[in-house]
């Protein structure tokens, strides 16, 4: 893939983004203060932990670029994970279960897209509503209980390795490259920029704005279904609260990564760095045994500092 391809359209600002600075500072700081931090095992650990969030943050970047938002993505992940678990237990077929999870993601993505594009309900409200629906369905299906008894084959997807690299990292890398290609090298991606930047332009170009919007949210739903597979494998069970609040983590990672909330301007690599920055911060603070309440405050500070750096640079 040509670097020229993304250097111009992709970088919101042509200087070092805040997230990169933050990430370097964090890594240097933890590397010095915590002996266990800079070990290969721990780095693999951080990356593996970040995979599920990345799977949600990637489509979130695309959705935010269209001046949209998907608050339902964490709840959809949860519900898909439950459906996956229930299906695999009932049928014994992991493939069928995975398809069922993707199906759940597809349905919710389609629902979101149709409500937003056809019924003209703003994305924030639409997905706030579908968040409730997905969460309610999760509770109703499970009655609040964990779903356990999943065959080991599923767990392998999270704990297995290929050539020494954990499966989740391979899956996440794949998802990243697919999203990158979609965003910067396909019609879909071009129209995503237009959806956020100037919808009128799309309309007069004869492209269906509705169709595009629906596709964008379907992409989000499918990725949530995909993430459900990793989540289920990670927990070796499904739980109705597992994904609660992950949508906000994903949004924060996207914002920390420098994607703008206003102008149809996104930076996928920034999202990746944002996700890793959050992972590094949590891991490092745990290794330093920082009290949990301080950790909570640090996460807030990370978000604000990264955006502050970006804002300062933009002013120059």
């Amino acid at each position: 893939m040509s670097t020229r391809g993304f250097s111009l359209a992709a970088l919101p600002v042509a200087r070092v983004p805040g997230v990169a600075i933050v990430l370097v500072v964090l890594c240097a700081g933890f590397g010095v203060t915590s002996p266990g931090f800079a070990t290969p095992a721990n780095i693999a650990n951080i990356l593996t932990q970040s995979t599920i969030l990345l799977l949600l943050a990637l489509p979130m970047t695309v959705i935010i670029m269209t001046e949209g938002l998907d608050l339902s993505i964490g709840a959809v992940l949860t519900f898909a994970s439950i459906v996956l678990a229930v299906t695999v237990i009932a049928t014994g077929s992991p493939t069928l279960a995975f398809l069922a999870a993707l199906g759940v993601g597809l349905c919710f993505g389609l629902g979101n897209g149709v409500l937003i594009a056809v019924f003209d309900i703003p994305p924030f409200i639409t997905t706030l509503g579908t968040l409730g629906i997905a969460q309610g369905l999760s509770l109703l299906v499970t009655d609040g209980q964990s779903v356990v008894g999943i065959p080991r084959s599923i767990e392998q997807i999270y704990s297995g390795t290929a050539a020494g690299i954990p499966f989740p990292i391979i899956i996440a890398a794949l998802a990243y490259f697919i999203t990158h290609a979609l965003l910067y090298h396909t019609r879909f991606g071009t129209y995503v920029f237009a959806l956020g930047g100037n919808r009128e332009a799309l309309r007069v170009a004869g492209i269906s704005v509705r169709g595009m919007l629906i596709r964008v949210y379907v992409f989000g739903g499918l990725m949530a279904g995909f993430a459900a597979l990793l989540m289920t494998a990670r927990l070796n069970s499904a739980h109705p609260t597992a994904g609660i609040g992950m949508e906000f983590d994903a949004i924060a990672a996207v914002a920390v990564g420098g994607t703008s909330f206003e102008r149809g301007n996104g930076w996928l690599l920034g999202t990746l760095l944002g996700v890793i920055a959050v992972g590094v911060l949590r891991n490092g603070l745990n290794l330093l045994a920082v009290p949990s309440s301080v950790q909570v405050a640090c996460i807030g500070a990370l978000v604000i500092v990264a955006l502050f750096i970006d804002g300062m640079r933009a002013e120059r």
Binding site: Q145, L235, S237, T241, N286, P291, S293
Partner: protein, 297 residues
């Protein structure tokens, strides 16, 4: 040298887990070890506790004292700890899988049963009762409510008006109770699956100028004050402090290759007007009982 013990609790907001943490720290001081607390930044977050376990394994503490956020969902975490060869003691919620040095806990079911019996006896074995459940599907809530219901079965003249969840939360309990009081003009007793919900119910009753007996579970400081002032009938003692103490002591004994029991179940104690005095002392000032004292009891 300094042995370190990593302690995992569910959240930073429920006083019960604070009591557990104080228990582990008190015991650690007495035994000359160091404890490090790990609490999910988002209350009761399963993925986060799992991540914290993974991070802690990197640090290799000498031992772990573990309360799983969810007794089933955290089994993979326990397996990872086992694989890393770190001895782990399970307290409060019994994990559905994995190998533990020991389990220290109290039986939610029998605490629910005995404290409910206390209330049903106080209303004379007849009347109308409401149950306030905790978070749906949590082991704690399920077992406590099962205890409540079995106590109800022993009193066929008592009528269960409603059994509604209030998520272990005060404000939820207050509003659920306010709403239920609209439907039920006569309520004699409220069985709440933890103390904050009991307090919420009391506030709702007081606000409407109505009288009913209320019980809660956990034996929190606040509950003890309310028992003293006669607003709360009783609270089941789940005794997080002692669970923290004993869990830590077992972990340390195991490290020192001393024999440990496989399981310690604390007896259900109902705190009421007759026996609240020892519970008035703040947990920070209490001393840990030794394992022998508890086991011989």
């Amino acid at each position: 040298d300094d042995e370190t013990i990593a302690v995992f609790t569910k959240n930073q907001t429920n006083p019960y887990f604070q009591a557990v943490r104080v228990g582990t720290e008190t015991a650690a001081k007495a035994l000359g070890v160091k404890v490090i607390q790990y609490v999910p930044t988002k209350p009761d977050s399963i993925p986060e506790q799992l991540s914290q376990v993974e991070d802690v394994i990197v640090k290799k503490p000498n031992a772990i004292v573990f309360i799983p956020v969810d007794y089933k969902a955290l089994v993979p975490a326990v397996e990872k700890i086992n694989a890393a060869g770190i001895p782990v003691t399970n307290i409060t919620d019994r994990s559905a899988g994995g190998n533990f040095v020991a389990f220290v806990g109290a039986d939610d079911y029998s605490i629910g049963l005995s404290v409910a019996r206390r209330l049903l006896k106080a209303i004379g074995g007849k009347g109308n009762v409401i149950i306030l459940e905790g978070v749906k599907g949590s082991l704690t809530s399920t077992n406590r409510v099962r205890g409540f219901n079995d106590a109800m079965k022993e009193n066929p003249d008592v009528k269960l008006l409603a059994s509604q969840p209030a998520n272990f939360q005060r404000l939820n309990a207050l509003q659920v109770m306010e709403n239920l009081m609209q439907s039920f003009p006569s309520i004699d007793g409220v069985l709440a699956a933890n103390d904050p919900m009991a307090v919420g119910a009391i506030e709702a009753l007081e606000g409407a100028n109505r009288k009913a007996l209320v019980i809660g579970i956990n034996g929190s400081k606040e509950a003890v004050e309310l028992i003293k002032s006669g607003k709360l009938l009783a609270s089941g003692d789940f005794n997080g402090f002692i669970q923290g103490c004993i869990g830590t002591e077992i972990a340390v004994r195991n490290l020192h290759k001393q024999p440990t029991p496989k399981e310690v179940m604390l007896k259900p104690i109902v705190i009421d007007k007759t026996n609240f005095t020892p519970y008035e002392m703040p947990v920070e000032q209490r001393a840990c009982p030794t394992l022998e004292q508890i086991v011989s009891n």
